[in-house]
Every structure is written in C-alpha cells, then in structure tokens.
C-alpha cells in the first residue's frame, strides 16, 4: 500500500509540475492569468425531517443530516438537534436527539405533549441546532387509513379509505398517492396493475388484485400493505393487514440437509465416507501392522543378543 501511495504521490507530483509548467507557459503567452482554477464546490448542511405513522397508531420522527459538497454527500455524525412541536419552547419540546454514524436520529413523541397534540389536527415541527432554527415549517395533518378486503364474483378487491382530520371532524383525503400491495422483503409488491394509486374525491381507492396465488405463510396468509411516502400533507403512512389470500407455503430444509459435495463436514455423502474410511483404514491398518513387525524385529534382536 505504501508503494501504491508513493505511486499516487509521485503521479500527483508529476501532474503538479506539469500543470505549473503549462500554467507558466500559458500566463506568459496570455499576460493576464487565466490559469486553470479548480472550482471548489461549497459544502452545505442539509437537515431533513420526516414524520412516520404506522397502523394509525405508532408515530415517530426521523431526522437525517448530511453535508452536500458538489455531488458528494457525507452524513453528519454525532450532531445534536432539538425538535419542537408547533413552537420552539421548552414546554413543547419533542426531544433532544443526536445523529448516529449514518447521520440519522429518531424520536417518538413523548406523552407530555398529549395536550398539545390533541389540541389540533395540524402540527408543525421545528428543528433547532443550538440556537439556529434549521427547520421551521415541517407540517403534518393527522390522517388515518382503513383497509377493507372483499371478494366479489371471484375477484379480490382491496378498498382503501384515507381520512384527514379537520377540526374535530374526519373528512375524506383526496389525491393521496400510495402503494397498495403485498408486503415483501424490502418492498411492497403491487396488488393490481399500477405501481401507485391515488385516492379520489371521496378519499377512497379500490384495487382488483391481479397478483394472485402468491406464496403466503403456512396458513396461506399474506400481508397487505398500504404505504404513503413523503406526502406533503400527511407525512409517511403505513398500514398493514393480513389476508388469507396466499398459497399455503411450508418451507423445508431438505435442500440444505442433503449430504452433498458442498455440504459441511457433518453432511459428507455416505459413499464418500465409506470409500475414504475403507481405504484409509485398510492402508493404515497395514502400516500399523508393519510398524508392529518392526518392533518384533527389535524384540528378536534383543533376544538374540542375550
């Protein structure tokens, strides 16, 4: 590695020399200097806050802080922020958070904010770093999602209703874009033909399930999921519900438990074990016999000496 560094260094050195020579020639020829200037991109800190609610119940805030320099992004580690609800006062403090190695921090809303939370359907979150307000207008409106499943004429339907709170009333939330589908590892497999769906003026959307006969668990359950991502009004919402629409799937380990050439030493193929042990035992059995014969020669020699 040192060698490599040296190479890079010497390469850089050469380059610098070359550049400076070129520059001198260039300036000499042109009088006013228009030397090659590396434009250093400015570094800016970007703080993002997002509101998450799941199953209309648990809610939390995620904060992400990065430094952006040109195209490069680096997380801001170990930086303290304070998050407030509605106003930047001690009484409405959500939490003091500190970013982790990925520049992320997370907090729940503490019970102490119950009154403030219940007081309104809309809230603003404020983030301060020290005395500086870095986010002042991240707002969310309370909402809830209902999943309803129905099978008509052999067609399975998922009916979604999204409601928003206005004052103390629950009204339909129109034009909310979301994913509707089946929860899979790392993502949601869309249930119908569209990637995403949008609620109509009544706050509902209905999807006819096309992705049929998906493998489910051992009871045939699959998990339906509705996910709203980064909505300007409602934040990030996720609701999941089981449905017995899958194909019963039992996973077996036959594949893994075979005795094969790629198995571990505890699953060596029997034919190989048999062959190897037969050969090794017979050969070494003979060898051990011969060693005993050597000892016999030794004994005979000692007897002869007496």
């Amino acid at each position: 590695m040192k060698k490599l560094l040296l190479k890079i260094n010497s390469g850089k050195l050469l380059l610098t020399i070359l550049l400076s020579v070129l520059c001198t020639v260039y300036t000499a020829a042109q009088d006013d200097s228009t030397a090659v200037k590396e434009e250093e991109p400015e570094a800016t800190e970007i703080v993002k806050l997002s509101y998450h609610s799941s199953n209309n119940s648990i809610q939390y805030l995620l904060l992400k802080s990065i430094i952006k320099k040109g195209k490069e992004q680096t997380p801001v580690k170990n930086k303290a922020y304070t998050i407030y609800l509605d106003s930047a006062a001690d009484a409405t403090k959500v939490a003091d958070v500190k970013t982790d190695a990925d520049g992320k921090a997370k907090t729940f809303l503490p019970p102490s904010l119950k009154q403030a939370w219940d007081a309104s359907a809309q809230h603003i979150f404020i983030v301060k770093a020290g005395d500086e307000e870095v986010i002042s207008d991240y707002s969310i409106t309370k909402s809830k999602i209902t999943i309803d499943t129905a099978t008509t004429d052999g067609i399975r339907n998922i009916n979604i209703t999204i409601q928003k709170q206005e004052g103390s009333e629950w009204l339909p939330a129109a034009d909310v874009e979301m994913k509707i589908g089946i929860q899979r590892l790392g993502g949601i497999l869309t249930a119908g033909e569209e990637e995403t769906y949008t609620t109509d003026s009544s706050g509902t959307v209905s999807v006819a399930v096309k992705n049929d006969s998906l493998p489910g668990d051992d009871k045939g359950n699959i998990i339906l999921a509705v996910k709203v991502d980064d909505n300007e009004t409602y934040g990030n919402l996720l609701v999941q519900q089981a449905a017995a629409w899958g194909v019963k799937t039992t996973t077996d380990n036959n594949f893994f438990e075979q005795r094969t050439l790629w198995s571990t030493r505890f699953r060596t193929p029997l034919w190989l074990l048999f062959l190897a042990y037969t050969i090794v035992l017979s050969v070494w059995g003979t060898l051990i016999y011969l060693v005993f014969q050597l000892f016999k020669i030794k004994k005979l020699g000692k007897q002869a000496a007496h």
């Binding site: 198995s263 190989l272 050969v283 060898l287 014969q293 016999k296 005979l300 000692k302 002869a304």
Partner: protein, 441 residues
C-alpha cells in the same frame, strides 16, 4: 571360498561406506545452506507482510509455490517406480538404485509439504485441516495420501537400511561419535537372524505392493486439485494419467542425475555401471514417449475443437506469451532427451546426465505452465483491476523460497549420503555372493 567372500565383503563395505565431505562437498553443502537461509529470510518477510510479497494476485492466485509443489510430488513418485514396480516385475539390475530413489522420494515429499505450507495465507491454521477437515475437498485427500506416501517411503528407506546399520555399527571407530550414536539408535537391534530377515523381507514386499496404488493416488489427487475446477487447461479427464506419467519421467531423470553424481564423486563405477545407465536410459525413453503421448492428448484434442474458453489459453501457449516456455518444456523436457537417449551412445553416463538435467529442468517449467497460464484466462475478462493483477512473474521472495525448498531437498539427500551408504551394502554383498555361487556351480 569363505575367505574370498569375506575379503570381498570387506572391500565392498569399504568402498560403499559413507564418506566425509571433501572440499567440494563442503562448498556444495555450504552453498545449499546459504540458499536455504535466503529462502528462510524471504519466508520471514512473507510471514511478516503477508503473501503480498509474492507477485500472486487475485487472478494468478497460485504461482510457483504450487508449481514447485507439483514438481516435488512428481519427483517423489520415482521411489515407487524403482523400488516397487521394478521389484515386482522381477527386475534386478535396479537394486543398487533403490536407496537413491527412496531418498529422493522422501526428501521431495518432505519439501512438497513445506512448500504447500508456505503457500498458505494462514499457515498457523494448518491444524484446522485436522480439527475441521472436510472429506469432500480434494485438499483433504491430498493431505491424507501424501502423509501415507511419506510414511511408506520412510519405511521403505528404513527397513532395507537395517542390515547396513549393523555393518556401520561394527565399524565404530570410523566416524565421529554422534554418528555411531545415530547408527546404534536406529539399528542396534538388527542381528541378522533368520527370523529378522524373514520379517523384514515380508515387510518390504508388502510395502512394495502398497506403495504403487498410493503413489498413483498422490499424483492423481494432486492433478485433481486442478482438474476438479472448471478452468480451461485444467478441466480435463486426462489429468491424472498425464500427471502420473510426467511424474515417472521427471523422477527417473532425477535418479539418473543422482546416479551420475554419486558415481563420479563417490567413485562407485563398480556398483553403478554403464549397464545401469543403459537400462535407465531405455526406461527414460519409454517414459518420455508415454508422457509425450499424454501431452498430445492434453493439447491436441482441445485444440482441435478450440472451444472459446480454451482458445485464448491454447493460443497463448502455442504462439503467445508462454510459447517460448511451452516449446522449451516440450523440446528440452521430452523430445531432445529422447533423441539423445534413444541411441546407444546417448546412454553413456555423461550424455545421460545432460539429458536427465534437461528432463528435470523441462519438467519444472512444465509444472509452471500447468499452473499459471490457466489462471490468466478466467471465464470473465480481467477488467478493472490493477495492471499487476493481469500478469505474473514470481517476485524475488518467491524465487528465493522456491529455490530454498529445492536446495532443502538436495540438502536432505546430501546429509543422508553423509550418514548412510547410498548403495545398499548388505544387498550388494549378498548379490555378489550369490553370483559367486552360481559361477562356481
């Protein structure tokens, strides 16, 4: 009659006794020790810094350590050929050569084990092979068969040595004290009684039978380290036979070299005669033809088809980067030695010696060609890697270690010859005796 026989025995004993190193012997031994020490220093560097001191990289992940290993395993096979195959075929002229062949086998296999440990990235975890050994891996098979072969070879070296140890024991005054201690330790119990002879003869017969399949195994399994992969140039069903035949050839070459050197420097003309060279020459010619035959199979058949992955590999060998070495190995390692030894004049000691050196040197490069070029032709192209990954030429550390191991093998032989008679004394006496009896009849 008895008197003549005793006189004769005494003469034979005198002439075959191990001799002190002369000036040349000292220089030879000293040079070998220095080469070994340089190799040790290089290995110390490798242990300290890692395998990065070699020029092996992710593509050529096996280099001359492995080709050297294959070379050693190959040479060691000769022990089985001369001691066992010739013996079972009732060939008697090879008797004086058995000990030469066995010590070559033992020293080569010892150095093969050393060099394979040198190749390991974590040599201190060698014990894992035993505590976590996996029978599915050809490496495990190799460890088992090489261990077995080593043990059989040791026995085949030791048991026929017992009568000679008795003779050596009886000559107490003729060496430094520690030497007679060694003789006593290993052979004090041999009295040459009838029962002892019976057991030892039987043991040697059993060992001679056993060593043949084991010898075939060590080199076949070694070839499988390559042939069980998919790589062009290794993916061959011909590999076991190809390796075994090549091994017999290079081993015989090594025996011829040893015969010449011992004969010359220990004045053994009476015991290693021109007849021996003549016979060995014929054997080498036969083996060279056999190896050539497997080479033709190994290269002509895939070259006829020129499957895409093979094509790059083969053209590189025939006409590319490795062409010089390839044709050198074929011509110098097989064709020219055959041309020399096929004539009667060519089977005189000196031309044989030269031809045998050609065989052995050619064989060393042949092993290099078996290992390296294949690794430079992976299925997916070599891209986006440092330039050093795309070529291979051993670093000085690799050369030093490889040469050190070769010197180590020679050193083992040298010390053995210093300690023990390289031509079996007792057997020679017995044979002379029998000859005299048949002549008198």
């Amino acid at each position: 009659m008895e008197n003549i026989s005793t006189l004769q025995s005494e003469r034979i004993t005198r002439e075959l006794m191990p001799q002190k190193f002369g000036k040349r012997g000292m220089i030879w031994t000293g040079a070998l020790i220095i080469i070994c020490l340089i190799g040790l220093y290089a290995y110390y560097r490798q242990l300290d810094k890692g395998l990065v001191v070699t020029n092996m990289r992710d593509y050529v992940s096996w280099g001359i350590y492995i080709s050297n290993f294959v070379f050693f395993v190959a040479i060691s096979l000769v022990g089985s050929l001369i001691t066992a195959i010739f013996r079972l075929a009732n060939i008697h002229w090879s008797t004086p050569l058995t000990r030469i062949a066995e010590i070559i086998a033992v020293s080569a296999i010892a150095c093969a084990s050393v060099i394979i440990i040198v190749d390991m990235g974590r040599p201190e975890r060698l014990v894992n092979l035993f505590s976590h050994g996996r029978l599915q891996s050809p490496i495990t098979w190799d460890v088992i068969v090489i261990g077995t072969y080593f043990f059989i070879s040791l026995l085949l070296l030791y048991i026929p040595l017992l009568p000679d140890l008795k003779i050596l024991n009886e000559q107490k005054n003729k060496g430094p004290k520690w030497m007679s201690k060694v003789y006593r330790f290993f052979g004090f119990f041999w009295k040459g009684t009838k029962e002892q002879w019976k057991i030892s003869n039987k043991s040697v017969v059993i060992l001679s039978i056993m060593i043949i399949p084991v010898a075939f195994c060590i080199h076949t399994v070694t070839s499988w380290l390559f042939a069980t992969t998919y790589r062009p140039g290794w993916d061959s069903t011909n590999f076991g036979a190809y390796f075994v035949s090549g091994a017999f050839l290079v081993g015989s070459g090594a025996v011829v070299i040893a015969m010449y050197v011992f004969r010359r420097y220990y004045k053994l003309e009476k015991y290693i005669t021109e007849k021996h060279f003549d016979k060995m020459g014929k054997a080498v010619v036969l083996l060279a033809f056999l190896y050539l035959y497997f080479n033709v199979n190994e290269y002509l058949v895939p070259a006829f088809k020129m499957k895409k992955p093979e094509e790059a590999h083969l053209t590189n060998l025939f006409a590319g980067e490795f062409a010089t070495m390839f044709w050198f190995a074929i011509l110098v390692g097989m064709v020219i030695p055959v041309l020399i030894m096929i004539t009667k004049k060519g089977r005189k000691p000196l031309p044989m010696f030269i031809a045998a050196i050609m065989v052995v040197v050619g064989a060393w490069f042949k092993r290099y060609l078996i290992v390296t070029p294949t690794l430079l032709h992976p299925f997916l192209p070599m891209q986006e890697v440092p330039e050093s990954y795309k070529h291979y030429f051993p670093s000085w550390e690799e050369w030093a270690i490889a040469m050190g191991s070769l010197a180590g093998a020679l050193l083992i032989i040298t010390f053995f010859v210093r300690l023990f008679p390289i031509i079996p004394i007792q057997e020679t006496i017995t044979e002379e005796h029998e000859k005299a009896i048949t002549e008198n009849k």
